[in-house]
C-alpha cells in the first residue's frame, strides 16, 4: 500500500506539473483537473481508491508550487512521492478536517525545499 501510495502520488504530481508546463494551465486548473480525474476514476478501480484519490489530490496541491520553489520535474516527482509517504504515515492525523491534504502537501514541499540548504550546512560542518 505504501508503494502504491508513493507511485500514485508521484504520477499525479507529474501530471499536474506537465499540465502547467506544457498545456499552460493555471495552477488551480491543473490541480483541480487532476483531483477531479483521480476522484472519479480511482474509487471504482481499487478497494482503497478513495484513499489513493486523496493522495493524488495531495500531490497535485504540492505541484502547485512556484517554479522557483520546485523548479523541475525531478523535484516535483520527489515532492509528490513524499506526499504519498506522508499521507500514508499521517493517515490518522486531522481526520475529517478540510485542508488536511494541503497541509501534508505544504510539509512535503518545505521538506524538499529544505534538502538543499540542509545539505549545504552538513557539507560545511564536515569540512
Amino acid at each position: 500500500m505504501v508503494l502504491l501510495s508513493v507511485l500514485s502520488g508521484a504520477a499525479a504530481g507529474l501530471g499536474s506539473f506537465a499540465a502547467r508546463k506544457w498545456l499552460r494551465w493555471s495552477s488551480v486548473q491543473a490541480s483541480a483537473a487532476v483531483a477531479l480525474a483521480a476522484g472519479l476514476l480511482l474509487p471504482p478501480l481499487h478497494r482503497e481508491g478513495a484513499y489513493l484519490a486523496a493522495v493524488c489530490a495531495c500531490a497535485s496541491y504540492a505541484a502547485m508550487s512556484g517554479w522557483d520553489i520546485l523548479p523541475g520535474s525531478p523535484g516535483v516527482a520527489a515532492c509528490s512521492a513524499l506526499c504519498g509517504l506522508l499521507m500514508y504515515a499521517a493517515r490518522d492525523c486531522l481526520p475529517g478536517v478540510g485542508g488536511r491534504l494541503g497541509t501534508c502537501a505544504a510539509v512535503a514541499v518545505l521538506v524538499v525545499a529544505g534538502l538543499r540548504p540542509a545539505a549545504a550546512v552538513v557539507r560545511k560542518l564536515i569540512k
Binding site: 493555471s26 496541491y61 502537501a105 534538502l115 550546512v121
Partner: protein
C-alpha cells in the same frame, strides 16, 4: 501555517510513538530549512473590499464543495476538483480562483467535524480572510491554500466549541 501542521504533528507522534519520533524530528528540521529558504517577507494585504470578496469566494467554494460531496456520489476529492475547475474558469479574471479553491478545501471537511452548512460557510469565509491577510507570505509554496483551509477549520472548531 504552523497551527494545522502542529496539530497534525502532535497527533502523529502521540498515536504512534517510537521510530515516528525520529521521522517527525527529521521532517521538522528539513521543513525549518525549507521555511527559511522559501519565506517571502513581502506581506501585501489588499484593501477591505478584497477581504470581503475573497471571503465570499471562499465561502461559496466551501459551500459548493460541501453540498456536492455530501449530496451527490462524487466524493470529496472529485467535488473539490469540480469546484476548483469551475473557479479557475469563471473567477480567474477577477483573481478570485485561489481563495475559492482554498474554500473548496474547507468544504472537504467531514460532517462529523463541521456538521452544518452554516459552519462550513463561516469557515470558508475565514479561509478567504486568512488568504487575504497573509497575501504574499510563502507565495509559491504548494499546499499553502490547504494549510489556510485547515487553520480556518480548526479556528472555527475552536470558536464554535467555545461558544456552544
Amino acid at each position: 501555517m504552523l497551527i494545522p501542521a502542529s496539530v497534525g504533528l502532535w497527533q502523529y507522534t502521540v498515536r504512534a510513538p517510537g521510530l515516528n519520533w525520529a521521522c517527525a524530528v527529521l521532517c521538522v528540521i528539513l521543513a525549518a530549512f525549507g521555511i527559511k529558504e522559501s519565506y517571502r517577507p513581502e506581506r501585501c494585504p489588499g484593501p477591505c473590499a478584497a477581504f470581503v470578496l475573497s471571503g465570499l469566494a471562499a465561502a461559496g467554494g466551501a459551500a459548493a464543495t460541501y453540498i456536492l460531496a455530501q449530496e451527490t456520489l462524487l466524493g470529496v476529492v472529485a467535488a473539490s476538483g469540480a469546484v476548483g475547475l469551475g473557479a479557475a474558469f469563471f473567477l480567474r479574471g477577477r483573481s478570485l480562483d485561489l481563495p475559492a479553491y482554498a474554500g473548496a478545501f474547507v468544504g472537504m471537511s467531514s460532517p462529523a467535524v463541521l456538521p452544518s452548512l452554516g459552519l462550513v460557510v463561516f469557515a470558508g469565509f475565514l479561509a478567504g480572510c486568512i488568504y487575504e491577510a497573509v497575501h504574499g507570505i510563502f507565495e509559491g509554496v504548494g499546499g499553502r491554500l490547504g494549510t489556510m483551509a485547515a487553520a480556518a477549520v480548526l479556528l472555527t472548531l475552536l470558536l464554535w466549541g467555545v461558544s456552544s
